[in-house]
C-alpha cells in the first residue's frame, strides 16, 4: 500500500515562501488569492498490508524524520 504524507507549517508560523507565492500570483493577475501556505508532499511505498499497523508506522516516521513538530503538522492518507 501507499502512504501519502502532507507536511504543512503550523498555524501562526510565518511562511515567507507561501507569502512570496501569494504575491507572485497576485501580480500575475490572480487578485482573488489571499493567504498562501506552502508544504511538502511525500509518497511512501509500504510492504505492510494492515491499515492500522501502517498508519502507526508512518506516524512514527513523521515524528522521527518527515516532519519537524516544532513548526510543522502532518497528515497521513493510506491508499490501496
Amino acid at each position: 500500500m501507499k502512504a501519502r504524507v502532507h507536511v504543512t507549517l503550523k498555524n501562526g508560523v510565518l511562511d515567507p515562501q507561501g507569502k512570496a507565492i501569494g504575491h507572485s500570483l497576485n501580480r500575475l493577475g490572480f487578485p482573488e488569492v489571499g493567504d498562501v501556505r506552502q508544504g511538502k508532499f511525500i509518497e511512501l511505498e509500504l510492504a505492510e498490508t494492515d491499515q492500522a499497523k501502517a498508519k502507526a508506522r508512518v506516524e512514527d516516521m513523521c515524528k522521527k524524520l518527515l516532519a519537524n513538530t516544532v513548526i510543522e503538522n502532518y497528515s497521513i492518507e493510506l491508499v490501496g
Binding site: P16, Q17, K40, K64, N68, V70
Partner: protein
C-alpha cells in the same frame, strides 16, 4: 583540550573550525565521519557548517539521525560540550539537543555578510572571554537562519538566560536593522539548559585572523580552551 569535528556528506566548514581550534590549542582536532557510531573520548565536539546530506527534507534533518549523532546525544547527556555552527546549529536543534528550529530567512535570500552580535552572557564555557553586552563582529552565510520557537519556549529561553548571542546594530542596539534573517528576538545563538551545548548561525571560526577581516570570533575558542583544558 582534545576536540572532535563531525563530518557529514556536504559539510564544508570542518577545515575552518579545525584551523581555528588548532590556532588556539596547538593541537589538530580529529575529524569524525558521520557513519562512525563511536569515536575517541574528547573534551569538545563540534558540528560544523555546510550542507549536510544536501539539506534534503529540512536543513540538518538527515544528519540529526546519523549514527554519529546518536553517540553525540549520549555524550551531551553526560555533559560533554557540543558546539553547533550554522548547519551544525540546524543539526543539533533537529537532534533535540537545543530547543526551537531554524527556518528559511524571512527575506528568502541567502545572506553572506559580516554581522554584529551582542554577547548576552559571559557565564558559559563558550563565552567566558567576552563581557556581557559586548558587541562582536563575525560573518554569517546561510539561507535558513531564522530562529523560531513557540512562545512558551521563547519565554523559558529568556527566563533561564539561554540566549547566547543576539544580532544587533554596530552600537549594540537590538532591533530589526541588525537582524539579517528575521530571527525571533534577534536570536543568533542559544544554549541548552546546562549551557554545555551552544548552537549559533554566525561563523566565529571565520573571524580568528586579522588577515581575514577580524579576530572577534577568537574569544569563543580561547574561552573554551580556558574552560576545558
Amino acid at each position: 583540550m582534545k576536540s572532535a569535528i563531525l563530518v557529514f556528506p556536504g559539510s564544508n566548514r570542518e577545515g575552518d573550525v579545525a584551523q581555528a581550534l588548532e590556532l588556539v590549542t596547538g593541537r589538530r582536532p580529529s575529524l569524525v565521519w558521520h557513519g562512525d557510531g563511536d569515536f575517541e573520548k574528547v573534551d569538545l565536539i563540534v558540528v560544523p557548517g555546510g550542507f549536510s546530506y544536501g539539506d534534503y527534507l529540512r536543513c540538518g534533518a538527515m544528519a540529526a539521525q546519523s549514527p554519529v549523532m546518536a553517540e553525540v546525544k549520549k555524550r551531551a547527556a553526560q555533559g560533554v560540550p557540543v558546539l553547533g555552527i550554522c548547519n551544525g546549529f540546524q543539526i543539533v536543534t533537529e537532534a533535540g539537543l537545543l530547543p526551537g528550529t531554524l527556518m528559511r530567512n524571512s527575506h528568502l535570500k541567502f545572506v553572506c555578510a559580516d554581522v554584529h552580535l551582542k554577547v548576552e552572557t559571559s557565564q558559559s564555557l563558550f563565552t567566558n572571554r567576552y563581557q556581557a553586552g559586548q558587541v562582536i563582529k563575525v560573518p554569517v552565510a546561510h539561507a535558513e537562519g531564522n530562529y523560531f520557537a513557540d512562545p512558551d519556549t521563547m519565554k523559558k529561553l529568556e527566563d533561564r538566560g539561554q540566549i547566547a548571542f543576539r544580532y544587533c546594530a554596530p552600537d549594540g542596539t537590538v532591533d530589526g536593522r541588525g537582524n539579517p534573517n528575521g530571527s525571533s528576538s534577534n536570536i543568533a545563538g542559544v544554549f541548552n539548559e546546562t549551557k554545555t551545548v551552544l548552537g549559533l548561525m554566525p561563523h566565529p571560526e571565520n573571524a580568528v585572523e586579522p588577515m581575514f577581516g577580524g579576530t572577534d570570533g577568537r574569544g569563543l575558542f580561547e574561552g573554551m580552551v580556558e574552560a576545558l583544558s
